[in-house]
Symmetry: C2
Subunit: 367 residues, 2 copies
């Protein structure tokens, strides 16, 4: 007896963790993805898009549909939404897919962003370099993630190289933001419009890939906390978003600057699985299924999430670490691949920092 059946477009680790969180609420999962072996494939029925009749089969077999990625095909979502509700809705997905539309939306709603310009030609790029002032960051408007599809133009000498690399795509040029750290704020909105916000996370990247998130972000002023909460609540309501939404932020001297949004559960929110009373995966399931939202407040003073990348490392040492929770995704080891993460809880930042240091040695990528 399932209460709801959720269809997930995709079958990666986000689908896996949605299913693990939703199953205890009597929700069943159906995954719509071409992969025969995947992180989600043991946790529900899999429907393969290439097979005849699969679209109808998928839509018919579920009550509500969600997706794992902001790169999900928008046309597919539109067609599915004519049969079953898809959450987050079209506005959230389409605006997340296009950096220019996204940035315009931020600006229109009064959220601080980097200065930016559309770049459709090399002339535009030369123009942007002048108007915004170097350095600038050049990004494809679509399909970028984990630092892919980006180039930094530091001096005029970099312009040709950046254009050769990315010029085949529609681009956005952004002025360089002088920030001290990257933060993210994650929140959830239900079908009735209720919202709940998770504590703000501080994110360490390396080579464009998230390595560690720490919660709550240390020494963040009440003004900036309020700014982050206001920003995400503004976005949730503007988009009439249903489900979890993430805003990536730069922490600057004179306030926060929004970098981008993701209409989904987010790597920087994985700490919440054990770290908050109701984790982001359970809250996403609750929101899109019409259940009441759960408590987003943290269980302990301090939490952290360490990504396991490339190599699984010394599993037994991780399992022997008190207060560490291991989450593997069932994926083969491969350079730069996210294979899992470790959640850490502690009664102080210092306690968690010590554990991060120790665990870092066990899982360091050897690839």
């Amino acid at each position: 007896m399932s209460f709801k059946r959720i269809g997930v477009i995709g079958s990666g680790q986000l689908g896996r963790m949605l299913a693990l969180a939703g199953t205890p609420l009597d929700v069943e999962f159906v995954f719509y993805d071409e992969a025969r072996v995947s992180p989600s494939c043991n946790l529900g029925k899999c429907i393969f898009p290439s097979e005849q009749g699969s679209f109808e089969q998928f839509a018919d077999s579920v009550d509500v549909i969600t997706y794992e990625s902001e790169n999900t095909n928008l046309e597919l979502v539109r067609k599915l939404n004519q049969i079953k509700p898809v959450y987050p809705g079209e506005a959230s997905l389409s605006k997340s897919q296009h950096r220019l539309t996204e940035k315009n939306t931020f600006r229109d709603l009064g959220l601080n962003t980097a200065n930016f310009l559309r770049v459709a030609s090399k002339e535009d790029l030369l123009d942007a370099a002048k108007q915004l002032g170097l350095p600038i960051v050049l990004k494809t408007t679509t399909m970028g993630y984990d630092g892919k599809g980006q180039a930094v133009v530091k001096t005029e000498d970099d312009i040709n190289g950046a254009w050769e690399l990315l010029g085949a795509h529609e681009l956005i040029a952004e002025s360089f933001v002088n920030f001290s750290r990257e933060l993210s704020v994650i929140a959830v909105r239900d079908i009735k419009g209720n919202t709940k916000v998770y504590p703000i996370s501080e994110n360490d990247h390396e080579a464009g890939i998230l390595r560690i998130s720490r919660v709550p972000a240390k020494a963040l002023s009440p003004e900036k906390q309020k700014q982050a909460q206001d920003y995400i609540t503004t976005m949730l309501n503007h988009l009439e978003h249903v489900g979890v939404l993430t805003l990536e932020l730069f922490d600057c001297d004179n306030g926060l600057v929004v970098n981008e949004m993701a209409p989904r559960v987010h790597n920087s929110g994985h700490w919440s699985m054990e770290g908050s009373h109701c984790g982001q995966f359970e809250n996403h399931v609750r929101a899109i299924s019409g259940m009441p939202l759960g408590d987003t407040s943290p269980k302990q003073e301090s939490a952290a999430m360490i990504n396991i990348i490339g190599k699984t490392g010394d599993r037994d040492s991780v399992l022997s670490t008190p207060n560490a929770h291991l989450h593997l995704y069932g994926k083969e080891e491969r350079l730069n691949r996210k294979l899992g993460h470790i959640n850490l809880l502690g009664n102080s930042h210092a306690e968690v920092e010590l554990a991060i240091k120790k665990l870092g040695a066990f899982i360091k990528e050897c690839g």
Copy 2:
């Protein structure tokens, strides 16, 4: 890439919760059970014993095997164990299956039990009534659970009725234990012989079915706590048990008395899923897979588990209760059926008691 594949004989809620706890450790699950629809059926491959070749298919497709119930067919376990290790082993299973063997084992190891006698005839029963003194509890030696297969003989007038009810089976007569409450102690032992013990739980039954477990058992003397820990450690080592083991205990004026054991994760240990750093399901998976054991200590001062029986009740009110974690088993509503449970955490017994009272109203069986 699965680290281990665990075969589970059975596909009920215990299998479901093992799979939910084991999947993040890259363990995959295969269920060996006749049910086509079951609490576990979405969380792994299902093999149906009635189908030809299923025995070999099951044994071949897993690395290690466990079971959900002490009523698992012993011959099946013996045959499987010739191909793949089955944990807990034969000693644990066979002794749990037979109340007389079980009680003799307790007595031989110096654990306090009720006085008992084997009853194979009506004459034995009359004899037992005299030797043990009325009242006595008459139980079938095998297949009893949740109060089934039992009769209380209070006066000589009850003897005929009890014999008519149960006389077709091999029986054990036990003297009545004068206890103030029922407790349980749960522990886990790994393949190398390391052990960890969970805090002792106080269990409220109604009509023979567990309704509420509270952890830690209130005002339990250090002597009795030590007694419980010693008893379960003695049993774990005597049986060379691998996995989780449960001892049900009576709390009496002059010490604890062992009632019975279960060679498995136990309903009275469900609180540990959120209530301890490593819950009983994860620790069972770790133990039988050769991983290091996790920390069994509690996360907060007080925890409780409320069984949802017969009717699911007002799900949204449960989900709206702070600190309450809902675990449903995907089963249809039916009188006296265990459909799920709610785990509660709090910083004091009083806080948890208040939540129990409130939640009790939401889920009270209406059947």
